[in-house]
Symmetry: none
DNA sequence: TATGAATGAGTCTTCATTCAT
DNA sequence: CATGAATGAAGACTCATTCAT
């Protein structure tokens, strides 16, 4: 009996996922969702408190995994420049990104591409800003350690790189890049960035 | 009378520009526009055929200048690799971009950041796709000319770089970067890209 | 089983009482009641035929005691003016009121202050009207007996005094006046009314 | 042309007044109002920002006149006990009340009897509380001047008298008491109160 | 008899656009 | 050509009550 309830919930989530994916949060109506889920409109509200709530459920895993990534990667205490220059850094990083993407493809897609109108609309910007602040802090701490580092790099350019990382994510999702291609693009990206930064910072 | 009419049109455009800038296309209502322009709502439709039409007028210069850039830069007939490697290529390119931005700041801002809900919502994607196709064509023609070039670069990565260029634009506009900073960021960008690509293509 | 059933009924009544008290009849939803009672929504309807029915159960003792009071006090056959003028009339009356209030505080509170939206919403008005009719009848019969009585007092003013009595009740309940204060206020009230009426009727 | 607009507004106000009067704020739907006013539902919102707004327009004169009364009558600086005992005090007061009532019958009726569900629902209680505070202040200042005054009167009883005044108002309105009867009831009321208070305070 | 699910009518509000004078 | 008025479709959310197992 409880299974039934869970079933309907799942059905609603499945169908709304489809709809959000097709038309985005804003253009998807609660009626759409209800009809496609084979429920009466009012029943929707037995399972979720609002349209936004449904979206939140679908999107939360992605949001969580991104937050985790942020935590791990931009913590200035943990990541010395030596780590970044270490041989397997690239690979480790790469795998983490890949993991996050593979695990939450659709959820991420919703979060980053279809959230307009929902409470997650500003997620990307907020996230990028936080990430940028963390990177900036890391930069400053590195400069304290290695005074020879190039100081020329503007805050804005650092911000920009964070945005690009997101853009990369978005594009991978938008084009449903298969796993192997995703991996190869990520490799390219990391190499590209690495080369660029090395030159720029004259490390 | 004709003058008056033009005046009113201008007023509508000025005020709606402000509103679109503040709240975006979707959140701006026709009533807002009419009131701020000192016109009755129905009069709006004497001067413009729809809300979208108003937006189009405001956004068209930016769209045009981007189209022009596309034309000039990604035309495989015109740009041989030798040009890219020429000394002043960077500067020329830089100036063109700067020009386009400076000339159409607000219009671009509307087009790239505030178009949600309008017929221009998909502009960026479309544009990037076209640009990518052109770059790909150029790449292929280059490969035909210089068979030694690295073939490894995926189509997607090229696409990505196009998107990044847009992202750069968007961020410059979003943060109202002043001209000098814009220039310096663009320089960084070009250098960054140049380094990255050179390495990647083993040119 | 029968015991269980009674238990559940009691639980529903207890919890709905709380809710009605907090938020009033209208703002209390059947779902609220069910959840707080630890029953499934549909089970509510096994124990009560409707939301209004639940309210009725809670409110009925108060309604009953008020009806009783009405019966005893405004029965023109029973109360001669001589009784009213008797020494202990005040005290007797006072105690009756006090009793009714003390016995049914919460029930009265629901009936008089929280019934909006229920079938008891009009209770006060109806009751007052009936009471007024009875008092009027009593007045007429008194006038028949004692023709010297002042006739000037309007029907409306008598009605008004009945309403005031209710208002008094409402305020005592609304402010959760403790028993001793309730007693003292009632004393004030009776004295106040008594003085007023004596003057007015030139008894 | 502007007349037309005003006309519709007036029509909406007239019809909604009727409806609110019949069924109260809550039970009156915007659709009701629109239909009875011969307007499309959406047009309602061209003239008023919400259902509550319509109600507010209807009710504001009454609210204003009550506030004014409060201002004039419970200002402890202005009203010495000597004024209250003066010969024409009663008449002046009486006329003021009458005026307020006559001028705003329907508006008052809505405000005091039909506001449930609107933003004016708590008006009465708020008002009474403010009035009570003012009267209490007045009492204290009188006691300072005339220390012989009875102190026994409880705050609650004073509060109660304020509520009664309101109850009086409500009943007058509820029963559509004609002007002359209203006057005579008010006279009774003032006399009644006066006698009661004199006794109570042993003035 | 208990439970999960279903129901359906209803409520306020918004907005771009068109009509009639 | 301007203006006031009209339009109608749409959208999110609520709630008491009933059904089917």
């Amino acid at each position: 009996m409880q299974t039934l309830k869970a079933d309907i919930r799942k059905r609603i989530l499945t169908q709304s996922r489809k709809l959000f994916l097709e038309k985005g949060f804003r253009e998807t109506t609660t009626r759409d969702i209800a009809e496609r889920s084979g429920v009466v409109l009012s029943s929707l509200y037995r399972y979720f408190s609002s349209k936004n709530d449904i979206f939140a459920c679908l999107v939360q895993p992605a949001a969580k995994s991104l937050e985790d990534l942020l935590e791990r990667h931009h913590n200035s205490d943990l990541n010395d420049i030596s780590i970044i220059q270490s041989d397997n850094y690239t690979e480790v990083t790469l795998n983490e990104y890949l993991d996050a993407i593979q695990r939450n493809r659709i959820s991420l897609k919703l979060l980053l591409l279809k959230a307009e109108g929902s409470s997650y609309a500003g997620f990307k910007e907020e996230y990028v800003n936080r990430a940028t602040r963390m990177v900036l802090a890391w930069f400053r701490s590195m400069k304290a350690k290695y005074p020879g580092m190039n100081t020329q790099v503007s805050d804005f350019f650092i911000h920009l790189n964070n945005v690009w990382m997101f853009t990369l994510l978005e594009e991978i999702l938008m084009h449903d890049l298969p796993e192997d291609e995703t991996r190869s693009v990520l490799l390219d990206y990391i190499q590209f960035e690495y080369t660029g930064w090395k030159k720029m910072m004259k490390v």
